[in-house]
Amino acid sequence: MIARVRTMPLTWRRTAMAVIAIALAVVLLAPLTSTDVAQQAGLPLITDKLWFRIATTVAMFVTLASAWNIIGGLTGYASFGNVAFFGLGAYGTGVLVSSLRVPFAIALFAAPLTAAAFALLVGIPLLRLRGHYFAVATLGVGVAVGEVVNNVGALGASNGLFPPIIRSDLLFFYLMLGAAAIAVLSTRIILKSRFGYGLLAIRENEEAAGVIGVNTTFYKVSAFVIAAALTGLAGGIFAQWNSFINQENVFPVTYNVEMILMAVLGGAGTLLGPVAGAIVLELIIQTLAGGGSASVYSQIGLGVLLAVCVIFIPRGVIDFFGGRSRLSLRYLRSTLRETSA
């Protein structure tokens, strides 16, 4: 069902790497044109406010999708509630900076820690469940945590929290990019390690994994905690970046689905699949939204996108880049035949 780490044919690979290198360079350096230094030197402003907003959001989703990939793609436990960790990370940092006046640089560390702690707590019972049960149980976590937070006065209840404003598009962009980099790097390290093989074994055949010596509980929970920490980190950055958090903007149920779709569309279980999926999908969503991502039409668009992707491309776009299959009518038809009644 899910693609493993595939190798692309060599020429593809070289071209792809060159393109990626150039794109990365642009993304990393262009924002510097917006600094005062650059402006004074007369450099053209390549990146405006809109650019920063979209780019930072894309980086955020790269982080979220890659994080989800660790528990959903590599381990095979498709969590439908990772947004809970995003929100917890946001509130973890948010509470420290707004109520306790802790400097952001320090408060940010609380984000992954809060999320990871919670993941450890709920992960142990929840990871005993499989398939449907796990998915909906985690969905419930996502919804329930948001609800509880919305009712607790100390966390601002329905008014939300207002971290003191730090104005710097540049800072948050690089921070979020950093989070994304950490997420992708973590995935790479895992994939090549003994731990990663263990996760794959759990995904492919959990009982067999157990009898050959994989401590499945420990591995599953670890993957869950790592995914949570990365997701929480993104949340913590978001809290300060947005200067305002409440239940609606840090526990949106649609985030769950978006990060899953990004990972699956790009290729769950692969290293760069979630990255590609996140970039492509978020750009589409931003375009649909035309400025307001909560707009009704973008929701409809997302829904349709979901339906189409799930029906026609369940293995993700990476399938095509591996050279294994080409996007053709035949591929689509055979996919349909495999999955229809």
Binding site: V136, E147, V296, L306, I311
Partner: protein, 289 residues
């Protein structure tokens, strides 16, 4: 003490609603192995349909229930046969994503048509209640409970006393064997889903009589339906009835506990869910899916 009795009665009445909501959900899950994340959306469609008929044609809500059933039956059949069937043999994740997507689409479309304003259905008798001392039992809720039990009976009859029900059960038990004895698989699947949707629609009609509805009002019901099925167990109508009533009780009693309130509906459902899954995965009366 009478405060407690009032709560219990309210809990059972609410439980009736949950029974109505969960019946269709349980059917689709048990037979098709689909956890339909758009179930709440079907409920809301039913609610809006009843409201529209009430607001524009002054049709009594309880009389509109059969219309809800038919409309949702058609919608459900079409959706399953046309869309959901395409992923029915794919891993669980994909049906989840698909039904979630459908939910998004339906809710958004409803938002466009009806906007987010709250609507209520208030027939003349909605305020009246049976007074037993200090305990008040709203008539309209009792009617809802009655409808819920009727639905359960109807479902039981369909599954156990009709040919089509036998076909559905066969398909649920062993897909290949069912085909071998001549059951049209796709039709059976679509029919099952349609029945589930129809029941959801009726539940929506009931709900519109005591709750103000808005397009997103259906979402909590999906999670709650899940909790009901987990609590009661999969595989039998009686299990869903037991689960629904018990869940209604739990929710009312939990919300009256100090510190909690009506904002915790989802959290309570989730807590019940997790506790049951950890302690007794097959639920009260069910066979493990």
């Amino acid at each position: 003490m009478s405060q407690f009795t009032q709560q219990v009665i309210l809990g059972l009445l609410l439980g009736g609603v949950y029974v109505a909501v969960a019946l269709g959900f349980s059917l689709v899950w048990g037979i098709l192995n689909i956890v339909n994340l758009a179930h709440g959306a079907f409920v809301v469609i039913g609610a809006y349909l009843t409201w529209t008929l009430f607001a524009h044609l002054h049709l009594d809500p309880f009389l509109s229930l059969p219309i809800d059933a038919v409309a949702l039956f058609v919608i459900g059949y079409a959706l399953q046969r046309g869309v959901i069937n395409r992923v029915i043999r794919a891993p669980v994740l994909f049906t989840f994503l698909l039904t979630f997507g459908l939910n998004l689409i339906i809710v958004s479309v409803l938002l466009v048509i009806f906007t987010g304003d709250f609507r209520s259905v208030t027939p003349g008798y909605s305020g009246r209640a049976l007074q037993l001392g200090s305990i008040s039992i709203p008539y309209i809720r009792v009617a809802g409970l009655a409808v819920a039990f009727a639905l359960a009976a109807i479902l039981w009859l369909i599954l156990n006393r009709t040919r089509i029900g036998a076909a559905i059960l066969a398909v649920g038990a062993d897909r290949d064997a069912a085909q071998l004895v001549g059951v049209d698989l796709r039709h059976a699947y679509a029919l099952t889903f349609a029945i589930g949707a129809a029941f959801a629609g009726v539940a929506g009609g009931i709900i519109s009589t005591f709750q103000s509805i808005t397009p997103t009002a259906g979402d909590p019901y999906t999670l709650q339906a899940f909790a009901v099925v987990i609590l009661g167990g999969l595989g039998r109508v009686s299990a869903t009835v037991a689960g629904g009533l018990l869940f209604g009780l739990i929710e009312v009693l939990a919300q009256s506990a100090p510190g909690l309130g009506s904002g915790y509906a989802n959290a309570i459902a989730f807590a019940v869910l997790v506790i049951v899954l950890v302690v007794r995965p097959q639920g009260l009366l069910g066979r493990l899916a």
